[in-house]
């Protein structure tokens, strides 16, 4: 192997010239990648990690983006001044890229085969037949069954995971030296994410391909990366080996970031540590250290910019902080711990605020199957689900997308009329008629805080509206006061009442969403993926806010999410769903500590833990295949088609939920010890 690094980037700068100013999206970034190495670039959205990758490939729009660098050497050759055509010869041939959105990254009107053979024909000048053979080989390699048939199909006939496999196949087609993967699994479910990452890692290991993986998911980094670059506000604040970054973080931002992530592997310790505030606006970044405004260790020295310095010679661990030694030593304690403030919420299991018995939500669907005929079927989005929610309790609802967790929420709210089952709210029956009476007591927070807020109303108007409609506060002055109070309660400022949703950040908008739910003084809030669109540090802030509000107001939450760690952190009780059915239900600690059901175990295994030692040490069950079509679920146990412990009986019997221990139920016939 050559001594020379495969990719050597020195002082890379990218500027975007926009109408209202210049944004330096990447500022003096330098790093190296060796052959076969796995580098991860982590950071929150807007920190410049994707731009870094795109600028290496020179895929940024030339009209607005200006790239400068001392040099970017690829295999010894400086590519900064290469012509477009020379660059084109490198792209796809020696360096390829996998993008975040598998749904939109493939051309919808061209066949998979066409798109896969394109680089082969362009770069390797293969004949069509040769290219086709190679394409079949590639599809086999990325684990797509029946590759011959698949080649003639179009992207819309592939699932998201399958498309990402195709993207990987395209990336690998010409056996490049480097693959840049930009958030390749963010849009995918955990089980699929695990499959894809394993695949990528495995193939690259075998072929000796270097990987630059851009991600915000620290778990993914911990699981796979050799080296990590941590970026903050267009700069690298810390870089080094994965074990150093996770084990001995020495930049306050890295420390904060790691602490903000809810952990599955640790007991619920209390409030999440948060980094206060928001990343700076790159149009007008703060002078000096850019983390200074949010840093607990900030001092006057920080008014000048710290250089990225190696902590110890030869260690290859660099930090851009004047107080890195100090930070390294103190670790997490640099953030004021508010463990003291934390009192566990005690739930009185007296009378449930919400009681769900045998809830069913079936959708009739029909679609054309050809020759003027149509097939109709029933999708059992929710099939016989029962649980209780007590005042002040948080019930987590987890599962892969399509498992029916959102349908549960919608059925409870009567946004869709439930097909069957019994719902009780405060011991009163909840049906189409009575739901209007309790609407005020049952609120909802949506995933996308932007699309759920009317862009033409100010925050004040948005919050006042329900008060007006429900005639809770008829007096105008009182209403205004109430709005100020709500804004304060969710950590915003009363002056924000006059702003419009687009003027707020994602986290602030979600706070507004929470304030809107709170203004009705509800008994229960159904939170549908409330934090999944947010960055890690902001996510922690929102979770803390929800917990504080629960403690203060005794609100119950039905917390629907796909992120297992978040659910674990916030929930008292957890329900695991698969294809409309409950697989396992129980206390949060029990479920995560001693999962019974194979599906729960697989889910937990698939979610990477942000600690390289633990992550790499543990044994994992990786689920094969994808979620079956809900129109045609497997017979017997719905999970049988993907279960690693499947037996003949599983395909015959639909398992009942069995109580194992103190309200810990699981639906599997192969678990011993059920009562």
């Amino acid at each position: 192997m050559s001594e020379l690094p495969l990719l050597d980037v020195r002082n890379l700068q990218v500027e975007f010239k926009l109408k209202n100013g210049t944004v330096r999206a990447v500022d003096n970034v330098s790093f190296q990648v060796n052959r076969g190495e796995f580098l991860s670039i982590v950071g929150e959205s807007g920190c410049g990690k994707s731009v870094t990758a795109l600028s290496i490939m020179k895929l940024l729009p030339k009209r607005v983006a200006e790239i400068k660098a001392d040099y970017v050497k690829f295999d010894g050759q400086d590519i900064t001044n290469l012509s477009e055509n020379e660059m084109r010869k490198i792209r796809g041939r020696r360096m390829s890229m996998i993008f975040q959105e598998p749904m939109t990254s493939l051309n919808p009107v061209l066949t998979i085969g066409d798109q896969l053979t394109e680089p082969l024909i362009t770069h390797l000048e293969m004949s069509e037949e040769e290219a086709n053979n190679r394409a079949i080989e590639l599809l086999n390699m990325v684990g797509i069954p029946e590759p011959e048939k698949r080649l003639t199909q179009y992207p819309h006939q592939f699932s998201g995971g399958m498309r990402q496999r195709v993207m990987i196949a395209i990336g690998l087609a010409c056996e490049p030296d480097l693959i840049i993967a930009d958030e390749p699994t963010t849009a995918l479910d955990v089980t699929i994410q695990a499959q894809i990452l394993e695949l990528l890692k495995d193939i690259c290991n075998r072929l000796g391909v270097a990987i630059i993986m851009i991600t915000h998911n620290l778990g993914v980094v911990a699981a796979y990366a050799d080296k990590v670059n941590v970026m903050y506000a267009a700069r690298i604040v810390e870089k080094g080996g994965a074990s150093d970054i996770f084990g001995k973080p020495s930049h306050p931002y890295t420390i904060g970031l790691l602490r903000s992530v809810p952990r599955m592997d640790k007991k619920r310790g209390g409030r999440l540590a948060t980094i206060e505030g928001l990343p700076p606006n790159l149009m007008a970044p703060p002078s000096g250290c850019r983390f200074k405004p949010r840093c607990p260790m900030a001092a006057d020295t920080c008014d000048s910019s710290p250089e990225l310095k190696e902590r110890a010679k030869g260690k290859n661990h660099f930090t851009a902080c004047f107080y890195s030694d100090d930070a390294n030593k103190k670790g997490a304690s640099i953030y004021v711990s508010d463990k003291d403030k934390f009192k566990p919420i005690k739930v009185k299991k007296d009378k449930p605020v919400l009681s769900v018995r045998g809830l069913k939500q079936h959708f009739g669907v029909s679609f054309r199957s050809g020759w003027l005929s149509s097939v109709s079927g029933t999708v059992k989005a929710v099939d016989d689900i029962s649980f209780d929610v007590y005042p002040g309790e948080t019930v987590g609802l987890v599962g892969e997308s399509g498992c029916g967790k959102t349908s549960v929420g919608r059925a409870i709210l009567h946004l869709n009329l439930p097909t069957g089952g019994e719902l009780k709210f405060n011991e009163k029956e909840l049906n189409q008629k009575s739901v209007a009476l309790v609407r005020q007591d049952m609120q909802v927070i949506f995933q996308d805080p932007f699309s759920s807020l009317n862009p033409r109303m100010t925050i004040g108007q948005i919050l006042e509206e329900p008060l007006k409609v429900h005639k809770i506060e008829t007096d105008e002055v009182a209403r205004a006061e109430r709005v100020s109070e709500l804004l304060t309660k969710v950590g915003l400022y009363p002056y924000m009442r006059d702003r419009y949703p687009h003027e707020l950040s994602g986290g602030q908008r979600q706070r507004v969403g929470i304030a809107r739910a709170l203004c009705m003084e509800p008994k229960i809030i159904i939170c549908d993926e409330p934090v999944s669109a947010l960055d890690v540090s902001v996510q922690a802030q929102i979770i803390n806010l929800l917990e504080d509000l629960q403690r203060e107001l005794g609100i119950a939450y039905l917390f629907i999410a796909h992120d297992l760690a978040v659910v674990k952190h916030i929930s008292h009780k957890v329900i695991v769903m698969y294809l409309g059915k409950v697989m396992e239900i129980g206390d949060s600690d029990t479920i995560y500590g001693e999962p019974k059901h194979p599906y729960t175990k697989a889910l937990l295994d698939a979610a990477p833990i942000p600690d390289p030692k633990k992550e790499r040490g543990r044994e994992k069950i990786i689920l094969k295949g994808e979620l079956p079509s809900p129109l045609n679920p497997p017979k017997g146990c719905v999970f049988s088609s993907r279960c690693n412990f499947v037996t003949e009986d599983c395909r015959k019997v639909s398992p009942e939920l069995v109580d194992f221990d103190n309200n810990h139920l699981a639906a599997c016939i192969n678990i011993e010890g059920g009562k």
Binding site: L59, R88, R91, G92, S105, P108, T122, H156, W371
Partner: protein
């Protein structure tokens, strides 16, 4: 694809039937009396009795439901009744003129596409350049300027350049293609200008939209030649909305023919339309509306099929 095609074709029948019924009754609400207009054209001394007789002869004093029955009975056989003005078969009157309108429609569509595609593509690829602005001004003009006015401008232009106008009277394209094209190119241009402007603008914006799509970035990341990126990956996707617009604009084209044929003294169905309205020739009018509706439905059928051919998602889903 075949099933989709057949289903789409079968859907045409109820659509046209609905049009036929609607047209019949709507036209009967329009006031006016063809016999009166016809007989009293230039004054003359005509008794009420004569008018009544003429009405009876033309079947105009039948109860409306009887007239409707006769009309509906005739439809499946392609019998649209007789023109109340000339007393010839309506279908004959239409057939003798439809060729010209058809040629005009085809010619202006071809012209529109020929103009729109280069303009739209150049405009999109050189966005923000002077060229782009010039093209955008030209195309906004096409949308803003009414086609009859543009037609009149064209006539003035021909007069100023050639000193005379193309000869009147239809000359078949098969007998004398040169003269025929010299006659037809101007009206085709007058209709096609608007048509091409709309299409060019649509094409421009859809190319711009498509070029910012993720799969274009993917194609570039694959190291594909830029030309191929634009033509193979870009254009085909950009064509989808453009094709829809071409189909929708065909409706305006049919409307445009009405004025343009009058401006250029062309003997097509557009002019026949105007004549039959002026004369209150209801039979002819309903025949014409039905013909135009059929044309519109057929064109949209073709567009739908074309769309399905271009977009696999439609082909496979339905």
């Amino acid at each position: 694809m075949l099933a989709y095609t057949i289903r789409r074709i079968l859907l045409v029948i109820p659509t046209l039937l609905a049009v036929a019924v609607l047209v019949f009754f709507v036209l009967r609400v329009v006031p006016g009396d063809i016999v009166e207009i016809k007989l009293a054209a230039e004054g003359g001394i005509i008794s009420a009795e004569e008018i009544q007789k003429e009405k009876e002869r033309l079947g105009l004093d039948d109860p409306i439901m009887v007239q409707f029955y006769k009309y509906m009975i005739g439809l499946p056989r392609g019998d649209l009744g007789i023109s109340l003005w000339t007393e010839n078969n309506v279908s004959e009157e239409i057939m003798s003129r439809i060729g010209l309108s058809f040629e005009l429609a085809i010619l202006s569509t071809i012209l529109a596409v020929l103009i729109a595609f280069p303009l739209g593509t150049i405009s999109a690829l050189y966005r923000g350049s002077i060229l782009d602005y010039v093209i955008r001004i030209i195309t906004i003009g096409g949308i803003a300027v009414p086609s009859f006015w543009f037609g009149m401008l064209l006539i003035m232009l021909i007069l100023a350049t050639f000193g005379n106008l193309p000869p009147l009277g239809t000359i078949s394209i098969f007998d004398d293609p040169k003269t025929n094209l010299y006659q037809m190119i101007w009206p085709a241009l007058s209709v096609g200008y608007r048509y091409s402007s709309v299409v060019a603008r649509m094409l421009r914006s859809s190319i711009l939209e498509v070029l910012s799509e993720d799969y274009i970035r993917t194609a570039r990341a694959k190291g594909v030649f830029e030309r191929i990126v634009i033509v193979k990956h870009g254009m085909r996707n950009a064509l989808l909305p453009t094709v829809t617009v071409i189909g929708l604009e065909f409706a305006f084209l049919l409307g445009g023919l009405v004025v343009t044929e009058s401006v250029f003294n062309l003997n097509g169905i557009g002019k026949l339309f105007v004549d039959s309205v002026v004369r209150n020739d209801l039979n002819l009018l309903q025949g014409l509306v039905l013909t135009v509706a059929t044309g519109f439905v057929l064109v949209n059928l073709i567009i739908d099929l074309l769309y399905a051919a271009l977009d696999p998602r439609i082909r496979y889903q339905k």
